[in-house]
């Protein structure tokens, strides 16, 4: 459903020349796939996700969506085609309430019932009653904000959802819950999931694992193939070199 072809992303370097952040990446994500992308900090995972969502434009290469070239499409168009993205660092808004955000996620034209909004919040372990009328502003804790961000993507229920480190800042109890939510999302629909994560327990539920380091795909394949090598110790792991 999603194909990245020779994708490159460069930014102007500090001194001279260009800094290459994504270097000629080729990846295919199939329908109903469950992929976890992992790799060292600064390797380019978030940048890749931002390229998929259209937040950044590649400096070379193409992005295909069900065979159609969407490289030139903007964020809104990609969102409406069926791509969703949960930010690594979610955004805060003064005056926009949690229920407004969830309601925008399910589609601005539909009026979301409070009960339905509550459903999404309880999925991510938030007691809906306490949160529905709160503003998505600085008064929310980091973990609360992160969970609301995840709920906003689940609420969209699109063919492809990309979650950037959904586990970051989430407490243990909610983490267990979150794992269940991802498994359930995968089991109950034909939608595809891409999760960027450093967590073994998330790697454990993936069908496919992609390792990205230094802007390149260092390894990709079925979980059974990739995971043992990854777990053999980060220091010696060949993917991290």
């Amino acid at each position: 459903m999603l194909e990245l072809k020779n994708l490159c992303f460069q930014v102007p370097g500090e001194d001279t020349g260009e800094k290459e952040i994504i270097k000629n990446i080729n990846l295919t994500f199939k329908e109903h796939s469950f992929t976890v992308i992992t790799g060292p900090n600064g390797g380019g995972k978030s940048t890749l996700a931002r390229l998929i969502m259209g937040i950044e434009r590649p400096t070379a290469g193409r992005i295909l969506w069900n065979g159609t070239d969407i490289t030139e499409k903007n964020i809104t168009e990609r969102a409406n085609l069926g791509i969703s993205f949960a930010f690594q660092q979610p955004v805060r808004f003064k005056g926009i309430k949690v229920k407004d955000l969830i309601s925008l996620s399910t589609g601005a034209d539909k009026k979301l019932s409070i009960a339905a909004a509550c459903d999404y919040l309880s999925k991510v372990g938030l007691c809906a009653r306490d949160y529905i009328d709160r503003e998505v502003d600085a008064s929310l804790s980091g973990g609360e904000l992160k969970r609301i961000e995840i709920a906003s993507v689940i609420a969209r229920n699109t063919p492809l959802s990309v979650f950037d480190e959904p586990e970051a800042g989430i407490d243990l109890w909610s983490f267990n819950n979150l794992i269940k939510v991802f498994e359930e999302l995968h089991d109950t629909s034909s939608n595809s999931l891409i999760i960027i994560s450093h967590q073994e327990r998330i790697l454990n539920i993936a069908d496919e694992i992609v390792v990205i380091a230094n802007g390149c795909v260092k390894a990709k394949g079925a979980r059974e193939e990739i995971l043992p090598e990854l777990l053999s110790g980060t220091e010696s792991c060949k993917y991290y070199q």
């Binding site: 809104t76 969102a79 808004f93 003064k94 005056g95 309430k97 925008l104 601005a108 503003e135 906003s152």
Partner: protein
């Protein structure tokens, strides 16, 4: 009243028909409807334009509506409304002014509202300003609010001006006695070539008095805004002012907060932030399928709510 006046009335006071409780509706320079209650009297001034609103001590859960509408192009008026709120009251006062100007001459409403609030009273004061009509004549409002808060009393003032007023110079001054508390929230949006100036001066005179002044403003197109907030701490007191503003297009905003402590135990804080809409806020809403323009609209609506 005609349809235009009724629409203005709905915009500024949320009124579809005559309100419950006491009210005085002023249209095109004259009082057109009035109702008083056993506890709330409304008396026309005989030395100048305006009314005295007298609220008996102990009046609870009552409201007064005093909307003003102007639909006759070129009308200029200066109106004095004085509120005398007795001790131990709990009342809601809803004022507001709507101007519809479809002509070429300037329409102007200058309203001076004075509040003399007794001890142990709670007053909620809501004021909305709105302009409509596309004549070349300006729609101008210069509201002045003067507040004297008695011991232990509490006033919450909410002012909103979202659309259509070409020029406004608003001034609010307040003096607080012992343990009195004042909360002011202002919502202001300017567009086109509008100009808005909003100045506050709060004197925290009584021991234990406190004031919280919160302004949220959006300036778009070529509009300009000036925000002045002065808090004087003259006793053991707490004062806080906050101006949070979004600029768009070619707009300009200045915020000039000033705090003066004249007493060792005065605790005063001011905060002011002006900036454009954060890019990542727009991006987030676009990832939910909104266009850039829709995203901006949502962000501003939320901000001004």
């Amino acid at each position: 009243m005609d349809e235009i006046q009724k629409n203005l009335l709905e915009q500024v006071a949320g009124l579809h028909e005559v309100p419950a409780g006491a009210y005085n509706i002023r249209a095109n320079g004259a009082s057109v409807e009035r109702n008083t209650t056993a506890n709330i009297d409304i008396v026309t001034k005989d030395d100048k334009q305006g009314i005295d609103i007298v609220i008996k001590p102990g009046t609870r859960r009552e409201s007064v509506h005093i909307p003003v509408v102007l639909s006759q192009s070129g009308l200029k008026e200066m109106v004095y409304n004085d509120f005398y709120v007795g001790d131990d009251c709990d009342v809601t006062i809803i004022a507001g002014c709507g101007i519809h100007n479809s002509g070429d001459s300037e329409s102007r409403h200058d309203g001076i509202h004075s509040f003399y609030i007794g001890r142990n009273s709670r007053v909620k004061y809501v004021e909305k300003h709105y302009g409509s009509g596309d004549g070349r004549g300006g729609k101008i409002m210069n509201p002045q609010t003067v507040i004297e808060l008695g011991e232990n009393s509490f006033m919450e003032m909410e002012t909103v001006q979202i659309r259509g007023v070409d020029s406004t110079r608003r001034s609010t001054t307040a003096a607080l006695a012992e343990n009195a508390k004042l909360v002011i929230t202002e919502r202001l949006m300017t567009h086109g070539k509008q100009y808005a100036e909003s100045s506050f001066q709060v004197d925290l005179n009584g021991t234990g008095s406190s004031a919280n002044l919160i302004s949220r403003a959006v300036a778009r197109d070529d509009s300009r805004q000036l925000f002045l907030a002065k808090i004087n701490g003259n006793s053991r007191c707490a004062g806080h002012s906050e101006c949070d503003a979004i600029i768009m297009d070619n707009a300009k905003i200045s915020a000039v907060p000033e705090i003066t402590a004249n007493h060792l135990d005065a605790a005063l804080i001011h905060e002011a932030a002006i900036g454009k809409i954060a890019g990542d806020q727009i991006i987030k809403l676009m990832t939910l399928g909104l266009t850039e323009a829709e995203a901006e609209e949502q962000i501003i609506n939320g901000f001004l709510k």
